[in-house]
Symmetry: C2
Subunit: 228 residues, 2 copies
Amino acid sequence: MTVTLYDLAGADPARRFSPYCWRIRMALAHKGLDVDARPWRFTEKDAIAFSGQGLVPVIVDGGRVVADSWEIARYLEAAYPDRPSLFAGAVQPIRFIASWTDRVVQPQIGRMIIADVAAILDDKDRAYFRDSREKRFGAILEAVQADRDQRLAPFRQSLEPIRVVLSGSPWLGGEAPSFADYAVFGAFQWARCSSPFRLLAEDDPIFAWHRRVRRLFDGLADQAPAFD
Amino acid sequence: MTVTLYDLAGADPARRFSPYCWRIRMALAHKGLDVDARPWRFTEKDAIAFSGQGLVPVIVDGGRVVADSWEIARYLEAAYPDRPSLFAGAVQPIRFIASWTDRVVQPQIGRMIIADVAAILDDKDRAYFRDSREKRFGAILEAVQADRDQRLAPFRQSLEPIRVVLSGSPWLGGEAPSFADYAVFGAFQWARCSSPFRLLAEDDPIFAWHRRVRRLFDGLADQAPAFD
């Protein structure tokens, strides 16, 4: 059985850069499921209209359609209980970590790479992306990311809870990777697939963890088109 | 078997206000253990010198001495495996939540109540507390908390990951309270035992959760001397 994933892509259809889609790419691999990850662009709303909304990730598994990365992860856990657990009994604490990633990690990364993201997009997405994001930020995208060197120190400081966990175990979930790892990893994978800007110092324990996650599943994330 | 807890107290020995000691009061109750919670003041370093350091909480359980709230929680889980679990399989994700509380929630609360904390202290602690904290903040304590009305909105905003979790379950740990709840609760209990300043709006789902935690264990935290 192959699961179809609608997966945000750039001008190069192999360049997949959505943090939420990466959460699901990793979750599907964790469950050992075959995937048909179809490139999808922001403006291809019609292609996922069957899901009842306009954002990816969307999966189709047999007759079942599921949207929203959290809902998809919960669906996979329920539908494939005999495969390695994504949550290992910690659903709500992991939801906290995913939600913190949404609200603390990703907005900071976004401000540092947003013009770089615009540059990798397919032609048909560029005007939509620039207009919607410049409206959101109230500034042109190049101006939004212009002060990113100054944003780096407070960004790295805000990641301290991750370092505390990694001081006690190799994965955010403990002795094995879990959806906690994939949620945080998606944010960093988004950045490295979209931008040459380096978010982590090489002596940061988060850097070493990030390398470990990249190497999972025969290097699934490591081999993706990226800037490093 | 009674566990001895050295527990930070104010001028009124019944006023216990340390966020980290509250984590352990709740954890001991969760494990159903009898507690002798002895009042301790900041300047009574000699009374806990046997622990090899100078901070509370410290517990003595039979011959075993354990300091540091995280180490104590881990110790209790290992020493009393047949009693209700504090972690329910989610040790590292809960460590993330505790660490986030340390680094995000408590520093913000501290800046809003620090002069109020000074006012509840025993005479012998006041000079020590004021000197050490004014040095840390670089300002007199009354000045530090003077802008707290302005700090409230960003503080409440920073709690959003808690609300996301509570939208799906009554406790941060899921269907039953866990050390995730006690870690975050300790911060709010510290505030309500030290200050009349109201941190949460009554229509905030965190407010309702906070009430639920207060009522646990026959109202252990609810009955503590406090400002509401």
